[in-house]
């Protein structure tokens, strides 16, 4: 881990606090007022928020521009996602330097969903770098003031780089080896794919310990705001298993005609489920929890209230 601390996120992780992060998703739109409003709702409840970069390969507001505006207007610290699908190493370097200029203190380096999975499947994919190489590039820029070829960077940006991992991977050995490689490249923190099952967390940390990954890991959770969302994760997202009883309870809410009552019930289902999950999480080596409640910011304070 870098010796210096540039962000509140890193400060709290280094202090050993159990850290909560949230997620904001600027859309395919020319204004992000809704995203800024969501950020305001999370203020005081999370240490920082991820700002997605072309999620699921849909062309959206640039994550750096959105993060800058969110930070300026709300004071919420952002973790800018930066994916390799759409930019070559020159453009990625530009983004890292821009992050410095815009006062962004954390980047999550990700490979990115394949472009054909999005709304412009005929686009030419880039992948000049991958998450590992982007991580290495960022650390060289920040720590050494050099680009990948050793070219000098004046006044290098001061920021931290995190990476992703999937605790639910069917190939956990390979997954954790890959994570180890990202750590060797300079990763400073991890935010994981969504997990629902406590045993998945336990197996992951056992493997992490065995392989020797020693950076802070925030486990990802996704309180679903509808049955359809939870079903999507269960059926479509690699390595994510949503428990049957949780799914069944959400399914039952489809019968509730009154919207407010339905929402109350869904909130309660999430509070019931994730209270136990978070209590378990606190008994593991997890450094915190990354709550991917996009479009559902009000659940985060509720969950934290219960967990304390």
């Amino acid at each position: 881990m870098a010796e210096r601390v540039y962000s509140n996120l890193m400060r709290e992780l280094k202090a050993g606090k159990f850290v909560f992060t949230g997620e904001l998703e600027p859309g395919k739109e020319g204004s992000i007022e809704g995203t800024i409003e969501a950020a305001r709702k999370l203020l005081g409840h999370v240490t920082a928020c991820n700002v997605t970069d072309n999620p699921q390969s849909f062309g959206c507001v640039d994550s750096l521009a959105a993060a800058h505006k969110i930070q300026a207007e709300t004071g919420m610290e952002c973790i800018c996602q930066l994916r390799c699908s759409d930019k070559n190493r020159l453009a990625l370097l530009s983004s890292v330097l821009a992050a410095g200029v815009l006062g962004i203190k954390n980047i999550l380096a990700i490979t990115g969903d394949y472009v054909s999975l999005g709304d412009t499947p005929d686009v030419k994919p880039v992948y000049d770098l991958d998450a590992t190489l982007l991580t290495r590039m960022i650390r060289r820029v920040v720590d050494e003031g050099k680009d990948l070829r050793g070219g000098e960077i004046r006044n290098p940006p001061k920021l931290h780089v995190g990476v992703a991992a999937n605790p639910g991977s069917a190939f956990l050995d390979m997954e954790v080896y890959k994570l180890k490689r990202k750590v060797l490249a300079g990763a400073e923190f991890v935010q994981t794919q969504v997990v629902y099952l406590p045993e998945v967390v336990d197996n992951f940390f056992a493997k992490v310990k065995e392989v020797g990954v020693e950076i802070p890991i925030l486990i990802g959770i996704f309180p679903a705001k509808s049955y359809a969302e939870a079903k999507f994760f269960h059926e479509q997202v690699s390595g994510v298993t949503v428990p049957e009883d949780y799914l069944a309870k959400l399914k039952e809410t489809k019968e509730i005609k009154d919207k407010e009552k339905r929402k109350e019930r869904i909130d309660q289902i999430n509070i019931d489920y994730f209270t136990g999950f978070l209590e378990h999480l606190k008994s593991t080596p997890a450094a915190g929890c990354h709550i991917m409640a996009v479009g559902y910011p009000e659940i985060i304070p509720e969950l934290k209230k219960v967990v304390g």
């Binding site: 490979t111 590992t132 490689r181």
Partner: protein, 243 residues
Amino acid sequence: MMGQKQKPFEEILEKLNGKKKIVLMGCGGCATIFRTGDPVAIDNMAEKLEKNGKEIIAKIKLPFGVFCCYLPMSSQFLKMHEKELSEADAILMMSCGDGTQAVRAYLDEEMSIVKPIFSANNALGFVGEGPANFIEKCMGCGDCILADTGGICPLTQCSKGLLNGPCGGTTPEGKCEVDPEKDCAWLQIYRRLEKIGELDKFLKIREPKDWGQATRPRRLSVEPIDLMEKLKELKATLESMGV
């Protein structure tokens, strides 16, 4: 070898619009393997074009083993058909783009026959395996990394071409999220490295690719082979194998 598929006939016909006298030329190399430039494919193409009012004034059929992209061999056949090539309104190459351009350059520069010429086939890159099913194995990046990846090329086998994969899209069945029919290349690499006791290579960070090696067109210079000597060798080898 160069994988290839014939273009839709309507597209070929549209490209030959306004051209009456046509020379067809095949290839005894890859296009024969893929049945896009062998004698049968040439005859079928000739028949279809004739039904559409074209006059086929020559069918240049190269025997198996004679690659139209290798001019020391294929130029012998061009010279034999100098008259028809000179009279043609267009030349339809039943080969890949490489063969088409090699022949085009020879006709232009060595025979002063400057004609419209195009390929009837779409080339699909280097492919291997066969005899019926083929898959792209090598993209000719100019900077081979197979020694570090268990003999499996991630640039061609991984949909994202990742040097430090896999991505997060390996399905529980070990397939690729982009193409559920395809094995995750990086899982294959991991398993193979594990089998040969080289898992340390998985942990090694592969540096960004030097795409400068792939700046096009790439050029090569070699000492030319002695063609007649090679043909004698081939004959002797085939005879010793009882073929």
